[in-house]
């Protein structure tokens, strides 16, 4: 199974995401923001970082990259897409996911290992996860906001995939750490599963589950 990772100018975690794909047993394919060709991949990861320097708003400019045009079309056709951190911001700016990510409530950049409660396993990227995981969170603009109606709908429809546990690191409304679209193929998470795939360099290997989830989903499809 081929999983593409899009590199934007300013992406930081694209190599880590590729590595996570390989460790989970998939084939990682490097995709370039300026190229609309998705090279026959079965799923796409939008990695963390500061695409286009976070100019205007985080993720706002990345939305117009040629690669994103193809990703949006593919996502609407059902292809699994995971946005991590800046990738989550790009998914919101692209209107593939509702709401927006704003400046952390306390203004500090947060970088710590974070406990998450997995609230929905009915998505392409969370089916293989346990009820609780610990993965790093590191963001400056990670506070999830949406209007009350949208928040209610997300919770009622089981589209909140993860909640922060043991302290909300950025002031996200209702402690939401990640959400999915209605179909469950598009998922955005603020914390970084790709940084928890090896015992040596992370708090554990809980992050691998996101990538094994999508590989299993693809095999079953």
């Amino acid at each position: 199974m081929k999983i593409g990772v899009v590199t934007f100018p300013g992406s930081l975690d694209d190599r880590d995401a590729q590595r996570a794909v390989r460790l989970a047993g998939g084939e990682a394919v490097a995709l370039w923001h300026g190229d609309a060709d998705l090279r026959g991949v079965d799923a796409v990861v939008l990695p963390g970082g500061f695409s286009y320097g976070d100019y205007l708003r985080a993720g706002a400019i990345a939305r117009f990259a040629p690669a994103m045009g193809s990703v949006v079309d593919a996502a609407k056709g059902g292809m699994p897409v995971l946005g991590i951190c800046n990738g989550f911001q790009v998914l919101c700016e692209s209107h593939l996911l509702p709401g927006a990510l704003t400046r952390n409530q306390h203004l500090h950049f947060v970088n710590r290992d974070q406990r998450l409660r997995i609230a929905s396993k009915a998505t392409a990227w969370t089916s293989d996860l346990p009820d609780e995981v610990v993965i790093p969170v590191k963001n400056g603009e990670g506070s999830y906001v949406a209007d009350e109606k949208t928040l209610d709908a997300l919770q009622e429809q089981g589209r909140v995939v993860a909640y922060y546990e043991g302290g909300n690191p950025n002031g996200s409304l209702r402690a939401i750490a990640g959400i999915a679209n209605e179909r469950g193929n598009v998922v955005g998470v603020m914390p970084h599963p790709e940084h928890a795939v090896e015992e040596l360099t992370g708090p554990g290997t809980d992050g691998l589950g996101f990538f094994t989830s999508v590989l299993k989903t693809l095999v079953q499809a």
């Binding site: 919101c92 700016e93 709401g99």
Partner: protein, 82 residues
């Protein structure tokens, strides 16, 4: 066509927390200013466009603001001629 300068002011919606504004509000008393009731911080953009008239210029820039300059999920904007 003449060039028109249009100003776009973008501000977080009132119900969206503005931690930047709060930080500034909290900093002002330490500099000897009376504590402000509130501070909200936004963006100011000046866009010059070729347009037949001021109304057309405003319309063009309002569209730009709606699609890119502002995120209507969290921000309000206003346009005016400079």
């Amino acid at each position: 066509m003449p060039v028109h300068k249009v100003v776009v002011d973008i501000l977080l919606k009132p119900e969206i927390l503005d931690p930047q504004g709060q930080a500034v509000a909290n900093a002002l008393p330490s500099l000897g200013f009376a504590a402000p009731v509130s501070v909200r911080i936004g963006k100011h953009a000046e866009v010059e466009v070729d347009a037949a008239g001021p109304d057309e210029a405003l319309e063009q820039v309002a569209k730009m603001a709606e699609v890119l300059l502002a995120n209507p999920v969290i921000e309000d904007f206003s346009v005016r001629l400079a």
